[in-house]
């Protein structure tokens, strides 16, 4: 098949640019309807998010206007400042919830990145007994959700005395199987000669890891970061943490929404605070994440 094609290209080299411009086996009507369909679906997908952002910007009188408008006519940031003002007087302030979430997300992601990368490095680049079996176990762990292990985890964390501390969320997040999986798959694409060259120059494994391997897998960092941030930032943490002052932003969001209709604007504002961080990280690192995901395939 490939041979035949090569021959033809050699005979008529001027045909190639034509193919590149537009795939020859596409009908124009098909293209038109497919893209029209895509635009409509894209609008439906984006609508709830746009709506959330615009409600957060609406002043009180516009929030309850009927019929509603999608976009705020006089956008204000009152709802956001209200978060700090009204909740600033309550026992646990809004900034405290924000701090809890930021702390959990930052420490959890950082630790996960280091620990999973170290594991992935040896799994991808060295042969040792137990290597394949361990990786297989990790892929099996991706096949069930964290809810399955939640109850024994509670008992374990209880034994360790970590219930009602940040560590009950942070430490289990270090071992998330998805991060190790993606990192290992990506590191396998790294040329082994790179590592061997460094070894000949007299570097030990640790130096190879942090001077050669880690700088070369930066795209995978971003991927681990986005998945870890997404999981931790959206963590409700209500099962392992009881104390109000250690609860997270998502929990506060639920409390505000339970506060009823008068808190609609503030609820939308917290919603925006909660969703903006993972989305922004994704927007700024999309190409790197896609580069990593290209090696995400599950081979057997």
């Amino acid at each position: 098949m490939a041979k035949k094609q090569k021959k033809q290209v050699e005979e008529k080299p001027y045909k190639k640019p034509l193919i590149k411009k537009r795939k020859p086996n596409r009908s124009i009507a098909g293209d038109f309807f497919l893209y029209l369909f895509l635009v409509i679906v894209a609008f439906i997908m984006a609508f709830p998010i746009i709506y959330a952002v615009s409600s957060a910007l609406k002043p009180l009188d516009e929030l309850f206007k009927f019929p509603p408008r999608i976009f705020a006519q006089h956008p204000t940031l009152d709802n956001f400042s209200d978060l700090f003002v009204t909740m600033g007087k309550s026992w646990v302030t809004f900034s405290r919830y924000l701090f809890n979430t930021v702390f959990i997300t930052f420490v959890g992601t950082f630790g996960h990145l280091i620990i999973a990368s170290m594991g992935a490095f040896v799994l991808a680049k060295y042969e040792f007994p137990g290597n394949a079996a361990f990786f297989k176990l990790v892929t099996v762990a991706m096949m069930f959700t964290g809810y399955v292990t939640q109850i024994p985890n509670y008992l374990i964390l209880n034994k360790l005395g970590w219930i009602d501390t940040y560590w009950s969320i942070i430490i289990p997040a270090f071992a998330s199987p998805m991060g190790l999986f993606l990192m290992k798959q990506f590191m396998e694409g790294l040329p082994t000669s790179l590592i061997e060259a460094a070894k000949i120059d007299g570097a030990n494994e640790w130096r190879v890891f942090y001077q050669i391997v880690m700088p070369n897998v930066k795209p995978a960092w971003m991927t681990l970061i986005i998945f870890s941030v997404q999981a931790l930032w959206n963590n409700k943490a209500s099962t392992y943490i009881y104390s109000e002052e250690r609860k997270t932003l998502v929990y506060a969001l639920q409390q505000i929404q339970a506060g009823g209709i008068a808190r609609t604007g503030q609820g939308a504002a917290v919603l925006v605070v909660v969703m903006v961080v993972p989305i922004l990280i994704f927007v700024f690192s999309e190409s790197q994440i896609l580069e990593t995901m290209a090696s995400s395939g599950l081979k057997d």
Binding site: T139, M143, T145, P152, L155, N204, N234
Partner: protein, 317 residues
């Protein structure tokens, strides 16, 4: 005579095994560094992923309420789950309904959109990826749907339907058991273009272009033939990965139903396996019973994953 032969075989086998173990041990010793690198992850992984599954299976055979030590009661947790617990059966039914509809549909949609945006110009494609992927990472953004589906006449869906004259009085979307599940499924589908979708987008970019050109020569007539004969077989590893993500998500559903329909929901109409697990684990502290639920969920997920994987292996062959 035969016995001695067997014994010899056995002895050979043992020495061979012992030799292999010796070689493995030597290798392991030479690679001490590797184990040191893997140790932090391996320890935490065992502690929070492997051991809990084993513990969960163990506790599922006991009565355990944290205060007293666990007491072995055999299979009776499972028996009462299946024979006596009607609410659990509702949970199973709902979970399967949601999984069977949103799982495959979300998976197909992920692939479909990844494939459709694949031929767009580069910058349009990156915008499209953000638009499609954003709902799944937007945290609790799905609670905004409770505004759309509010039960009074001010809920947007109600207002819209009343304006065009389809209904004459508002529908209690999230309180009436008839509408709960469909609305939850809608929201879950909205969020279903997740990790699998990213994997598909990335995988499609990596398909070797010369294969398509070879395809034109060999008479691939339209985009659908191209999809089946060239694209799909190339995408197999990503399809597998996406399937794992979809199945795990489809059976673990609980956040959306809890946020939209309440916990507990009217008549337990939106109860899923996971909410039942929470109910027994963290409200009633019947850990043994909750572990039995967790074990059933674990088995369902693993078996389903294995089944789908063996199915996917046949794609394009």
């Amino acid at each position: 005579m035969e016995k001695t032969e067997n014994m010899n075989m056995f002895r050979k086998y043992v020495t061979l095994r012992r030799h292999e173990a010796g070689v493995a041990w030597k290798k392991a010793k030479a690679r001490k560094m590797c184990y040191l690198f893997l140790a932090p992850y391996a320890i935490l992984f065992t502690m929070f992923y492997v051991f809990p599954v084993v513990a969960s299976i163990y506790y599922s055979f006991t009565y355990y309420n944290i205060l007293e030590p666990p007491r072995f009661i055999g299979l009776s947790n499972y028996i009462s789950l299946i024979l006596e617990d009607d609410i659990f059966l509702i949970g199973i039914k709902n979970t399967f309904m949601i999984a069977i509809i949103t799982g495959p549909l979300g998976y197909i949609l992920s692939f479909l959109f990844a494939w459709l945006i694949n031929e767009l110009p580069r910058w349009v494609r990156s915008v499209a990826v953000i638009v499609f992927y954003a709902p799944s990472i937007a945290g609790n953004c799905y609670v905004i749907f409770s505004v759309f589906f509010r039960g009074d006449a001010y809920g947007y869906v109600n207002a819209f339907l009343m304006n065009i004259g389809l209904i004459d009085k508002p529908i209690l979307w999230l309180i009436n058991p008839d509408y709960m599940l469909p609305i939850c499924m809608l929201v879950i589908l909205w969020m279903s273009l997740g990790t699998g979708f990213l994997s598909f987008v990335a995988g499609l970019q990596g398909v070797d272009r010369s294969q398509f050109e070879a395809g034109y020569m060999d008479g691939v007539k339209n985009r659908w033939q191209e999809l089946w004969y060239i694209t799909l077989p190339n995408m197999k590893p990503m399809l597998m990965f996406g399937a794992v993500m979809s199945i795990t998500q489809a059976f673990g559903v609980c956040d959306v139903t809890m946020a939209l329909c309440g916990y507990p929901s009217t008549d337990y109409a939106a109860r899923t396996i996971v909410t039942h697990l929470f109910d027994y684990g963290f409200s009633r502290f019947e850990m043994g019973y909750a572990c039995a639920i967790a074990t059933i969920l674990f088995l369902i997920m693993i078996l389903c994953n294995k089944a789908i994987q063996s199915l996917l292996r046949r794609v394009g062959t």
